[in-house]
Symmetry: D2
Subunit: 332 residues, 4 copies
Amino acid sequence: MGQVHADAIAQADARIVCVFDQVTEVAQRLGDATGAKVIGTAEDAINHPDVDAVMVVTSSDTHTKLILKAHQAGKAVFCEKPLSNSLEDAQNCIDALGDDGSKRVFLGFNRRFDKHHGALCARVKSGEIGTLEQLIITSRDPYPPPLEYIPKSGGLFSDMMIHDFDMARSILTEEPVSIVANGSSVVDPEIGTLGDVDSATVIMRTASGVLVIIVNSRRCAFGYDQRIEAFGSQGMLISNNVPKTSVTLANGDSHDGKDALPEFFMDRYAESYVAEIETFLDCVRSGKDMPVNAIDGLRAMMLANAATQSNLTGEVVEIAMNELMIKARLLS
Amino acid sequence: MGQVHADAIAQADARIVCVFDQVTEVAQRLGDATGAKVIGTAEDAINHPDVDAVMVVTSSDTHTKLILKAHQAGKAVFCEKPLSNSLEDAQNCIDALGDDGSKRVFLGFNRRFDKHHGALCARVKSGEIGTLEQLIITSRDPYPPPLEYIPKSGGLFSDMMIHDFDMARSILTEEPVSIVANGSSVVDPEIGTLGDVDSATVIMRTASGVLVIIVNSRRCAFGYDQRIEAFGSQGMLISNNVPKTSVTLANGDSHDGKDALPEFFMDRYAESYVAEIETFLDCVRSGKDMPVNAIDGLRAMMLANAATQSNLTGEVVEIAMNELMIKARLLS
Amino acid sequence: MGQVHADAIAQADARIVCVFDQVTEVAQRLGDATGAKVIGTAEDAINHPDVDAVMVVTSSDTHTKLILKAHQAGKAVFCEKPLSNSLEDAQNCIDALGDDGSKRVFLGFNRRFDKHHGALCARVKSGEIGTLEQLIITSRDPYPPPLEYIPKSGGLFSDMMIHDFDMARSILTEEPVSIVANGSSVVDPEIGTLGDVDSATVIMRTASGVLVIIVNSRRCAFGYDQRIEAFGSQGMLISNNVPKTSVTLANGDSHDGKDALPEFFMDRYAESYVAEIETFLDCVRSGKDMPVNAIDGLRAMMLANAATQSNLTGEVVEIAMNELMIKARLLS
Amino acid sequence: MGQVHADAIAQADARIVCVFDQVTEVAQRLGDATGAKVIGTAEDAINHPDVDAVMVVTSSDTHTKLILKAHQAGKAVFCEKPLSNSLEDAQNCIDALGDDGSKRVFLGFNRRFDKHHGALCARVKSGEIGTLEQLIITSRDPYPPPLEYIPKSGGLFSDMMIHDFDMARSILTEEPVSIVANGSSVVDPEIGTLGDVDSATVIMRTASGVLVIIVNSRRCAFGYDQRIEAFGSQGMLISNNVPKTSVTLANGDSHDGKDALPEFFMDRYAESYVAEIETFLDCVRSGKDMPVNAIDGLRAMMLANAATQSNLTGEVVEIAMNELMIKARLLS
């Protein structure tokens, strides 16, 4: 993640002054790539006079300690999620920072800055769908992490669903007041043996009765599934998956992802034959003119004949329907 | 087609009084199925006193003769398309019927009565897309007719595209004044050898400058392709293909017919990492509160912890965000 | 519902022999419309010698009594859902029928016979998406029932979600072993006052760990929302909503339901300008031929010139790219 | 366009050494922004010893002269489209460059490098849809250029459709051998008065019979419409429009851009009632067990009752379907 943020900084209007990493080679590599100075301790990096802001992208158990140091040094702080590995430690950090200080620490929930989810969030808040009533967030990873990661991950709810908890909170205008969760290990039973789940759902409820449903899976055969459905009193907004390109395929197996088209005209236009007869019968009974009649039959034939002629001659053919004439266009 | 119309009549509020067919067995079979009387000559069928309306579903070269007989007998007429095999014969028929008589002969362009295309047509005429400027009709058959049918078909423009000519005319509010056509035989060179085309396009133009494009193919690997695009000064309406069901599939190969989803978060949320840093830098420079901060970090952790607890206990867990408390819900 | 089933019978290969209704006028009206005999008691209707099968479409509290009478009379039974208003009464009915008898009573969960949901169900069972892991059913009614109906409805879970419970069971290959529910009354607080909910979600879990999520709302601004998402180890199937027609609209407000298109070429093709320069630089460095070069520039100009000429003359123009010639087509 | 390319160069691995512009202020502004040296004549800029490659982004009538100078100076050349304003001048340039030289001049048809259209092109060439038979390119600008631009534009076919001609050629594997065009001025009659068209269509044909259709409009109410449809012997690929985000809206007016959903269950599930009765009748006649029967009715009721209970108690409820029991989950 350090590299990801370094790349992002390179595209933004800022530069990396200095880097620290417990593994000196990692720091050196980033320093070489960015021109930043490699510093021996986190404290010295934080206190470097040219540093205006500190990015904490270390292991989760060191986050709060570094946040507090940077904050006490008067620096703005960006901290990768999660705030901590432990709820108690996180609570202590907030207490030490105070309310104002806490708001000077940016927490790296990057999905809030996705243009698709962000547009949904903004449109919900603009009132486009009235009052929000139900919110369904689907997040499925393409494949599970290595098994050795599971025990130190903190479990699916803290490691993976935490992004969705934050996303839900960013869309809601009030906090959840209750939550119920249910999970299982259908992707890999070994994950269950390690005390975790790999497929899970929660329902949260706010004071006014908004229901939030989050669906997670550690594996998804069709890639990284990221969708949000916001259902309100006046409509629904869905932030759909974002395919790599806008190209669609239709072949014998499918048509735009749907199953096959009707075989031929008998299937496709079956209902039209009945509607046609009903229209005919209605005209017979009422004495109304037929809406499609012998003259239409003639005119369609005129076009077909003119097209046949044009295809043979390579000329545009002029047609005078009312004079019932087809003629080769007179060229100036 | 006789059977198709007989089925349609059975669903409408009418009955078949009598049937005539040159091949007596065919007439008999339809008579047995519908309870209609089999009659020996077309004239006697037409003149049967219980007959109010005549359906002409014979070979194309007999259409005008039967239309005129039925019309002269004072019966309403439904005629399967095309009006005739010959433009001259069709013209003579119209002349004999006169303008009023011609309008009492229903021509079986059934696609006008399709609810999808019909909805597009009605919405174009309602002015929903302003003034119509371009009309693109795509019609592709799933497979070509037998080769022996080609010589007597009248050619693709008269046999197949005639439906599209009529559809175009039903949507337009003025007649085409010129047409140019271009075709080839890419589906089966034998069709070319027989003097016909199996892939063709025409451009028609109306007096006011509306351009109509029709695209036909005698073969379509994904089924029966039937689409209309109406482009107007204020918008576009498309009557899309109608899949058999609304079920879509996403798997490793595709997602709703589109190519694969992004691999994982680095691809999917790449832009969000840059937007995130830009937001952070903006807050650092402006002194504004961070829009997602340490308190959000704590609250997401509270939800994750509560979800973990609920998953273990099977209880709904209550959360008081502002008091920073999670507690088992007290049950009455 | 009696009328709905009568219409369905009219389209199937069966006829209504006799009808009974507590309100004689209702029975009479159905009798007049269908030609069925009106009978004074349910018992006489059930025992009518021409009756092979009995349809029970009465108030829910009379279902089991009539089922048992029909079953004891040796008749096949179709019963509108639900089986009963009371779980105890339903249990007693099953006990009385026995296992074999219970299976001779058809229960009217009509959604199982919907072609869209049915196709999803069949494809899940065919193994197309591997092992089913998550199932999400969304059912939202367009508007709530009248308030006076709420107290006698049995509550949302029994009255509305019961269709979804059955749908879930029809797709699953094992029974749910646990359930948790959460609801609120966000549509109409009066519904909450009456002790019911109008927005609700449940999570069910099967023994093997499949999670089933059902989302219900008594109101939906965009119509009758009926969707199923089946997520499996190898893919996902979604039975989407079924719009009235396949016509889509694009205008200044939206494009196929999505927000606006890019403004113009600078937005739409922004990335292509970078990719273009990268390709150019790569060719400069490697000495490779430019993939799009001056000759391509000339040839595109030749086509543009020929098109301009054709538009003026109304003739097809022939082009010989390799001889770099455009000429008016020689017509035979 | 100079600024666009300068931005692209900044993101690629290259730098701008020096700039020349007839208007010195423009050159100075670009020089200031990029650190490039401003040079007084095009010749000096081209011949600057640090320059490896020359970008020609000048008025179209100066392109060929500068290309030749740069080529003669031994520099690689990138030239903005079109190659020239005049077909004769373009031809002379190609002659002077020779075949090898021409291929060292990159022509700026940037759309070839769009990832969506590029993916379609690559997939067509991979044979994914068999042999290409029809190619339909739609390009519509959001609004026309200022009227004063029209006379010097070279006309729609040279100014606007030239991109589509190049796109067609990049997808085809053989050159067009004929072309026919038809245009009108429906967007603004003034454009017609100036001798140009603002709505146009061409059909091109290759030697093997591939038909290429291009549809252009100078105005499009829904933004910048850019689509390609490639139809082949084994399938179809469409490069669709690329909306700004993946968010869709459903409300009372539309659902994913389609018209309204069915009103309620009678419309949505109308067919299922008939299919249900047919299944019932089939079971009655064949003696088969009912596929959905009284036991299913009981089980759905059990789930509804358990959900109602869970909603009241906030507890997960356990269900033993086979023992027909619902019980509160025993918590450890």
